[in-house]
Symmetry: C2
Subunit: 423 residues, 2 copies
């Protein structure tokens, strides 16, 4: 019997009615002749409410206790979904992350899945139960403590379980119809993409597209697990995230998958760094030790008369304070002048596997930005992505301009197969 792993997020589980609707959806899949294993997030705003409660009790709660608290959220939703399924006359068992065999490292609040040992799940599926699993949580291999995977961790749970159970597909249910060519709140003419490669999805997620969590896509790519991102409010097909086939007519593949944007980062500029070997290494070692995730890096051309240079990089705003403090401590040692912190930046990324073979993409991209009067502060590229940093207030305009320039606008909301060459 085919095995489908489904994941429902908090917005699909907002209240009792939503839970009942999700239960009916699960049972439809079951009745269509599939074994079903379902991963659930916490209901609606539960996680935020628990975070608020924690904040009221303690400004700096111990991470171990935070994980104890937050894991209550999925525990509630998994039990309620199981009850709703039982009420439809189907046998069902719910399991916590720990019971489901989600083994992690010991990093409370952002644990990584090390292994999945789904013995109880396999057994329950074999006995004919629908299985519900609490997403976002696991148990540490070394300390036996309860851990959480961090925000978005339920997607990762679903893909990891799907891989461990050798599922046929991992369906991620959300409150939108799938992956769009851009955020429809910014670009109303953005349209749903029918198919996207793991690789492109990875770049989109890394560039700020919030539908799928980066780690989840990494996991899916590693285990070659097809993901079907779709709406829990509609029966329509969503977006399939698949391994790129080398077959197929490349002319029919869209060059560009979409335009992602991100306002969650800040820029730090270290001003007046002596232009000597090892200085940059010292700086980035220090930032990494403060546990900040560095994204883009730019080093200006050295001003030869002074022998000094500026180094800029971007990182999540949440990591900004710690990084600045860490850098200030090594100022004397490295010998730089000052640190500038700028959290009014935005990042725009154009993603598409077709870039590899279409050399005109970057020209079109920069012309679109230039025509709109957008000032570019930083640039970084991969084989299938171009990202730029702009002022935050210019970001929406920039996204719309790039979306239009690549012919992604669609009044019907249908996917456009874009096959132009040499632009």
């Amino acid at each position: 019997m085919p095995l489908v792993v489904q994941k429902y997020g908090g917005s699909s589980l907002a209240d009792a009615e939503s839970i009942k609707r999700v239960a009916r959806r699960i049972i439809e899949t079951r009745k269509a002749g599939n074994d079903v294993c379902v991963v659930v997030s916490a209901m609606g705003d539960t996680t935020d409410e628990l975070l608020d409660l924690a904040q009221e009790v303690s400004p700096l709660p111990p991470p171990r206790e935070m994980d104890m608290l937050l894991t209550a959220g999925e525990r509630m939703s998994m039990a309620l979904v199981a009850m709703a399924i039982a009420n439809l006359g189907h046998s069902v068992r719910s399991f916590t992350g720990s019971q489901a065999g989600v083994i992690t490292d010991a990093s409370h609040g952002r644990a990584k899945i090390i292994d999945v040992t789904p013995g109880r799940i396999t057994e329950a599926l074999g006995e004919g139960h629908v299985v519900i699993v609490a997403g976002f949580q696991g148990v540490s291999q070394t300390t036996k403590e309860i851990t959480t995977l961090g925000r978005g961790g339920s997607d990762t749970t679903a893909v990891a379980l799907a891989a461990a159970l050798h599922a046929d597909v991992c369906e991620i249910y959300t409150d939108v119809d799938g992956i769009f060519t851009a955020d429809p709140r910014i670009v109303p003419s953005a349209h749903k993409v029918d198919r996207i490669s793991h690789e492109e999805m990875l770049e989109m997620a890394a560039s700020g597209a919030k539908i799928l969590h980066l780690r989840c896509v990494e996991y899916a790519r590693r285990f070659d697990m097809p993901i079907h991102v779709r709406s829990s409010f509609s029966p329509k097909e969503g977006t399939w995230v698949l391994t790129t086939t080398t077959e197929g007519d490349p002319v029919e593949e869209p060059i560009i998958a979409g335009v992602a944007h991100d306002r969650s980062e800040a820029k730090i500029t270290v001003v007046g760094v002596p232009d000597e070997p090892g200085r940059a290494a010292q700086i980035f070692r220090t930032v990494a030790d403060s546990e900040a995730n560095i994204d883009m890096i730019v080093q200006n051309v050295s001003a030869t008369e002074t022998g000094l240079t500026d180094i800029s990089f971007t990182l999540p705003k949440a990591d900004g304070q710690a990084a600045v403090q860490a850098l200030q401590r090594i100022r004397g040692e490295v010998g730089f002048d000052s640190i500038q912190y700028d959290d009014q930046i935005g990042k725009l990324s154009l993603v598409g596997a077709g870039m590899r073979t279409n050399p005109g993409v970057s020209a079109t991209f920069f012309k679109a930005l230039s025509d709109t009067g957008v000032n570019i502060e930083m640039i970084s590229t991969s084989e299938i992505r171009i990202s730029v940093v702009t002022r935050s207030e210019q970001l929406d305009e920039a996204v719309a301009a790039v979306h239009t320039a690549f012919g992604l606008d669609s009044s019907e909301g249908e996917a456009v197969v874009y096959g132009g060459t040499g632009r």
Copy 2:
């Protein structure tokens, strides 16, 4: 170092402020030179809210999933209390019932504690942590499933842990000052009792006094664990529940511990039962098989001319419907006429170890009821208790009359040592 086990109920943990107050109270005990292990219930109305949510999703949720759901309540409160303690600068670890080694049978929703294996607790206490444990929950020895002990189960968790850890005292914190001679909402002149024996407390709890759960007191008596029932809102001493010492001057011990009442029961009368051996056994076997807990039983004198008799018994209202249905199924077999169901009854119980040696107690008791015009429908007694069933609407008046007749009224709210003899 002395070890104190404390238990805080939901009303002491209503919100973030209450949780912080409880944390300060725990730390006071710690600073006074004790190891402290704290058992917590779910916050305020959490359990009721979860029950409501379950009801919205399914009218008859599977008990296994219900336990999964409800155990989230204590999980949240234990983590929050731990955070509040950490915020006061003390090291702390919270543990679920399962982690704390609370081993139960497999009866979801009303599991019994079979064993307590508090290895992780002992270890954490040894490392100098304050320990917080989720009450009301455990893990089944046979199925490894999460179980709950039923309402009031957190008290039982606390006493069971106290016994397993060889604690010096088990403090039960609540929203009243201790055990009262009667419910102060019915008898405003009721006063707090300073000391009460395990045996008397057992009768009080079985008779409807709601401060301590019956099973908790049974556990405390079996393991000879002193319980200190006190208010979490005041530093005053509460009521000590202790093993009766054979020493001490009996004249100084109060004859009567208090007057309990109970409106949670109903009366079933099986009318026209053939007065033959084995009929009553058939009836009570059937009721027991419906999982109803029978309390009092009365069999009327047989009417010799008909050879028929009536059998009445009381049971929790919650069990009433199942019992009536079970009895109706054996009507033909047993050959009785009809079943009467009456849920407008009230039970009044007078409890006191001094009754044993004071033969006048029952005379005073029945005279008080008679003077007030209360009609008695059933009577049952133990060595240290007399209970009567009356009409529900006469119960308050009856409680007040008995309270006064035994000199328990006190305008100052102070404990009265009642040493009369031979009444």
